[in-house]
C-alpha cells in the first residue's frame, strides 16, 4: 500500500544514459518512483495515457517527435500534467517555447542531484499543502 503513496514519475529522454541517472536520483527521494520511461514523443504519449504519472521529465530534442510538440500534446490530453523540461545548454529559445506550451519548469543538463531533488520537493510539497 505504501507504493500508492509514492509520487509517480515518467521520464522522457532518448538517451538511456540520462534516463538511468534520472531514475537513480529520483529513487533516492524515497517518496517518488519512476513508473515509466519513454525514448521519444510518441512513446511518451501512449505511456502517459496508460500511467497518468504525477510528473513528467521531458527532454526537448528527440528523434521523431520533439519535446515541445510532445509537451503540447500531453497538455491537450491532460491539462493538469506537470511537465518539467530537462534541456541541454544553449536551447533557451526551445525551452521558452516549451514553457509557452505549458511546461511547468525547467532544468539544464548537466544537472546536479540536488536540482532534481529540489524539483520534486518544490512540486510535491506545495501540492500537498495545496490539497489540504
Amino acid at each position: 500500500m505504501s507504493n500508492n503513496k509514492k509520487k509517480r514519475i515518467m521520464i522522457v529522454d532518448d538517451a538511456q544514459f540520462t534516463r538511468n541517472i534520472l531514475k537513480k536520483i529520483i529513487s533516492k527521494t524515497g517518496y517518488c518512483e519512476v513508473v515509466g520511461e519513454a525514448k521519444n514523443g510518441n512513446e511518451a504519449i501512449s505511456l502517459y495515457k496508460k500511467l497518468k504519472p504525477d510528473l513528467v521529465t521531458m527532454d526537448l530534442v528527440m528523434p521523431q517527435q520533439g519535446g515541445i510538440e510532445t509537451t503540447e500534446k500531453l497538455l491537450k490530453i491532460d491539462p493538469k500534467a506537470t511537465i518539467i523540461v530537462v534541456s541541454a545548454l544553449g536551447q533557451e529559445a526551445l525551452v521558452l517555447e516549451a514553457a509557452k506550451k505549458g511546461a511547468k519548469d525547467f532544468i539544464q543538463k548537466p544537472f546536479k542531484n540536488e536540482q532534481i531533488l529540489e524539483v520534486m520537493e518544490r512540486t510535491f510539497k506545495t501540492l500537498k499543502q495545496g490539497s489540504k
Partner: protein, 691 residues
C-alpha cells in the same frame, strides 16, 4: 555507391555552394531589406538538398529541406526586424553543421547528420516563425487603481525577487515566474521597467508591483514551486503608496523606457546588424568573374606535376653542364632551344599553383562578423587586394596567423563605441586586411584603428622581469618593445590583459610566419591603432637564383632579393663600433661576411685563395631603408633552381629556404635572404639601443 571521383566532385561542388551560401547570408545582414539574397539562398539550398540526397545523406537532405522551406516562408512574409539576427544565426549554424558533415566525409566517414540536429533545426526555425514575447506586465492607469481600491478585496504588493546567479535561461525563468504570478493576480509595473526586464538583459533582481486578491502566504506558495529563485520578499503596500509608486514609475519610466529602448535597440544594432553601417563589409575587390571558364584539378595532381617538372629542370641543368664541359656547341644549341619552352611551362605551372588570396580571405568576413558580435563591437571590415595571387601552400599556412591577428584586433584593438566616442573617434571602428605584392614578396597588413599597444605596460613587464633597469626600460623605443613582444619566453609569462592581449599568441604567429620564410613587424600608436605587416615569399617552389661560393662551398641566393652586385672595394668599408659598413652612394649598408656568418672558415682555402681574388659584394634590400651587403668569395651563373624544403625535423635551420641540386649534380643550400635580413635588422635595433 558513388565512386571516389564522384565523391570528390560532390565534395568540391558542395563546398562551393556552402561558401556561396555564406556570402549570401552575410548579404542579408548587410541589407536586411533586400530580399534577393533570400531568393538566392532558397535556390542554393534547393540545389544542396538535391545533390546531398543523391550522395545518400537523407537526413542532411531533409535538413536542407527545412531550411529551404523556412526560406520560402521568409520570402513570402518578411522576417520581422528583431528576428533577423536570430534568423541569420540559425542559418549560419546550419551551414556549420553541413560543413562538419563534409569534413567527416572527407575523412571517409559517411555518417549522416544526426536525427537530433534535424529536429533541433526544425524547431529553431519554428520558434523563429512564431510570434511571441513574454509580455506579462500590463501597465495600469491611476484611474483604474482608484476603481480597484473603491471595489475593495484586492491586495497591493511589492514583490522583490532575486534570481540565482547560476540561472542560465533568464528569459525563461522570468516567463515562468510571471506566468505563475499572473495566474492569481496581475503584475502592473516593474522596476526596472518591463521593456528591460522582459528583454532578459537586466540584473538578477527586480521588483514587481502586483495586485491580487490572494494573501502573501498564497503568493509565497506559488513562488515556492518555482526553481532558481534565490530570494523573495513580498511586501504589502498601502493602496495610495502603490498608486504613487506605479504612477511615478510610469512617469520616470517613460524617460527610462525611452533610454532603455535606445539601449536595447542599440545593442540590437550590433547583434542584429540592423543598421547598415554596422559590421558592414566593404570589399575592395569587386568580383566580376562569374563566368565559368575553369575546371577543377586535384591539388595533389598539381603537386606531382610540379615535382616531375622539377626533376626535369635538374636533369636539364646537368646535361647543360656536361655539354659545357665537353664544349659540344652543336648539342648545346639544341639544348638551349629548350630553354624557352621550359620557361613557358615553368611559368604556367607556377601560375597553376597560385591562388587568389580571396579564396581564403573571403571567409574572414564571417569570422570578423562573429567576433564583432561576440564582443559587441561595431566595425567596418575592409578587404583590399583580394586579387593578389599567392602560392596555395603559403596561403594555407597564413590562415591561422591571420585569424589570430584579426581576432586580436577586434578583441583588444578596437574599442567599444562608447569608448570611441569619448576619444572623439568615429563610432565605427575600422579593421583592414590589405594585401599587395612587392618584389618577390607578398605583404599582408592587418590594421585597426583601435587603442594601440600599451607600451608603458610592456615596459613595466620588462622591468619586472629584470630584463632592463627602470631607466633603461623607459628609454627603450617601441621597435625594441615590439620585438620583445614577439619573443616566446617573454609573452607566455605575462597576463593577457597586461598589454591588452596583444602579447598572447603573437609569438606563435611570429613563429609561423618565420617558418614560411617570412617576417612580421608591428607598428602601433596609442589611440591611433596597430598595424601588423606580414611579409611572406610569393612562392617557394622554383626560383631564379644566383649561385655564389663561400669558402669553396656553393650557395644560392634568390635573385628577387638582389638589388645590385659589386666587386668588393675595401676602401668603401667603414667601421662604426663593432659593426662594419659598406658605403654606397653616401648610404651605409651593414656588411655580412658570409664566411663568418655561415661559420665556414676553411683554413686551406683561405691561405690559397682569399687574397689573390677580389671578393664580391651583393646588395640585398628588404625595403628602401633596410638593406645589407653580403660579402662572398665568388659569383657563378644564375639558374632556375627547385627548392626542396628541409624535412620538418630540420626546418628550424634559420637562414635557409632549403636545398637544391645544381647542374653538376652538387647539392647547394638556398639562403633565406628575407629571414637573414630581418634578423639582422632586429639585432641591430637592439644593439643600437642598448649601446
Amino acid at each position: 555507391m558513388a565512386s571516389k571521383e564522384d565523391m570528390e566532385l560532390f565534395l568540391s561542388e558542395t563546398e562551393d555552394l556552402i561558401q556561396k551560401t555564406e556570402d549570401e547570408i552575410l548579404k542579408i545582414e548587410e541589407n536586411p531589406n533586400d530580399s534577393s539574397p533570400i531568393q538566392e539562398l532558397f535556390f542554393t539550398f534547393h540545389t544542396l538538398k538535391g545533390i546531398i540526397a543523391m550522395a545518400g545523406f537523407d537526413n542532411a537532405s531533409k535538413f536542407c529541406h527545412h531550411i529551404e522551406t523556412t526560406l520560402d516562408h521568409a520570402k513570402k512574409n518578411k522576417i520581422s526586424a528583431n528576428k533577423i539576427g536570430d534568423f541569420i544565426n540559425v542559418l549560419l549554424e546550419s551551414l556549420d553543421m553541413l560543413r562538419t558533415l563534409l569534413n567527416r566525409v572527407k575523412k571517409g566517414d559517411m555518417t549522416d547528420i544526426d536525427n537530433k540536429f534535424l529536429i533541433e533545426v526544425k524547431e529553431s526555425f519554428e520558434v523563429l516563425e512564431s510570434t511571441n514575447d513574454i509580455a506579462f506586465i500590463k501597465p495600469i492607469t491611476s484611474s483604474k487603481i482608484d476603481q480597484i481600491i473603491a471595489k475593495g478585496g484586492t491586495n497591493f504588493y511589492k514583490i522583490y525577487i532575486l534570481i540565482q546567479t547560476t540561472c542560465v535561461f533568464k528569459k525563461v525563468r522570468l516567463f515562468i515566474i510571471f506566468r505563475a504570478l499572473n495566474e492569481i493576480g496581475q503584475i502592473c509595473s516593474s522596476n526596472p521597467v518591463p521593456e528591460v526586464l522582459e528583454s532578459g538583459k537586466s540584473n538578477l533582481d527586480f521588483e514587481l508591483y502586483y495586485i491580487s486578491s490572494k494573501n502573501p502566504s498564497e503568493i509565497t506558495q506559488i513562488l515556492e514551486e518555482i526553481l532558481e529563485i534565490e530570494n523573495k520578499v513580498i511586501t504589502k503596500l498601502d493602496p495610495k503608496d502603490f498608486k504613487k509608486i506605479v504612477s511615478d514609475l510610469s512617469a520616470t519610466g517613460k524617460k527610462v523606457k525611452q533610454k532603455a529602448l535606445e539601449e536595447v535597440s542599440y545593442e540590437e544594432e550590433i547583434i542584429d546588424g540592423k543598421v547598415k553601417d554596422v559590421s558592414r563589409i566593404v570589399d575592395g575587390f569587386k568580383d566580376t568573374s562569374s563566368k565559368i571558364s575553369s575546371i577543377k584539378v586535384n591539388i595533389e595532381v598539381l603537386e606531382r606535376l610540379m615535382n616531375y617538372f622539377g626533376e626535369l629542370v635538374i636533369t636539364k641543368n646537368q646535361i647543360n653542364q656536361k655539354l659545357v664541359e665537353k664544349e659540344d656547341k652543336k648539342l648545346k644549341n639544341f639544348l638551349d632551344n629548350m630553354d624557352k619552352p621550359f620557361l613557358d611551362i615553368q611559368e604556367l605551372l607556377f601560375r597553376l599553383k597560385l591562388i587568389r588570396v580571396e579564396s581564403t580571405f573571403n571567409k574572414y568576413k564571417r569570422l570578423v562578423r562573429d567576433v564583432a558580435r561576440e564582443t559587441g563591437k561595431k566595425l567596418k571590415f575592409i578587404l583590399e587586394g583580394m586579387d593578389v595571387e599567392i602560392d596555395r601552400r603559403i596561403l594555407e599556412e597564413l590562415n591561422s596567423p591571420l585569424v589570430h591577428l584579426l581576432r586580436n584586433a577586434i578583441y583588444h584593438g578596437i574599442e567599444k563605441s562608447q569608448e570611441r566616442k569619448i576619444k572623439n573617434k568615429d563610432e565605427i571602428g575600422i579593421l583592414e586586411l590589405k594585401t599587395y605584392r612587392s618584389g618577390g614578396s607578398i605583404f599582408i597588413e592587418v590594421s585597426d584603428d583601435g587603442k594601440g599597444i600599451e607600451y608603458d605596460k610592456i615596459r613595466e613587464i620588462v622591468i619586472k622581469k629584470g630584463l632592463y633597469s627602470r631607466e633603461e626600460a623607459m628609454q627603450l623605443p617601441k621597435e625594441v618593445l615590439n620585438q620583445l613582444i614577439l619573443l616566446p619566453n617573454f609573452t607566455t609569462l605575462i597576463d593577457a590583459n597586461m598589454i591588452s592581449g596583444r602579447g598572447m599568441g603573437l609569438a606563435i604567429v611570429a613563429e609561423n610566419i618565420k617558418k614560411l620564410g617570412g617576417s612580421l613587424s608591428i607598428q602601433s600608436k596609442k589611440d591611433i591603432g596597430t598595424k601588423f605587416t606580414l611579409i611572406v615569399p610569393f612562392t617557394r617552389a622554383i626560383l631564379k637564383a644566383q649561385l655564389i661560393k663561400v669558402s669553396g662551398d656553393l650557395f644560392a641566393i634568390p635573385t628577387e632579393h638582389i638589388e645590385q652586385i659589386y666587386i668588393f672595394n675595401p676602401s668603401l668599408v667603414e667601421y662604426e663600433g663593432d659593426e662594419i659598413y659598406y658605403k654606397l652612394n653616401s648610404h651605409l649598408f651593414q656588411i655580412i661576411q658570409m664566411e663568418q656568418y655561415l661559420d665556414l672558415v676553411n683554413q686551406n682555402y683561405e691561405s690559397s685563395k682569399s687574397n689573390s681574388h677580389s671578393k664580391i659584394a651583393i646588395l640585398c634590400k628588404l625595403s628602401e631603408e633596410n638593406g645589407v651587403i653580403f660579402v662572398v668569395d665568388e659569383i657563378l651563373q644564375q639558374m632556375d633552381i627547385v627548392v626542396k624544403p628541409f624535412k620538418s625535423d630540420y626546418a628550424d635551420s634559420q637562414g635557409f629556404l632549403g636545398s637544391t641540386i645544381t647542374g653538376d649534380g652538387s647539392i647547394c643550400l638556398v639562403l633565406d635572404v628575407l629571414n637573414i635580413l630581418s634578423l639582422k635588422i632586429r639585432e641591430n635595433d637592439f644593439l643600437n639601443l642598448i649601446n
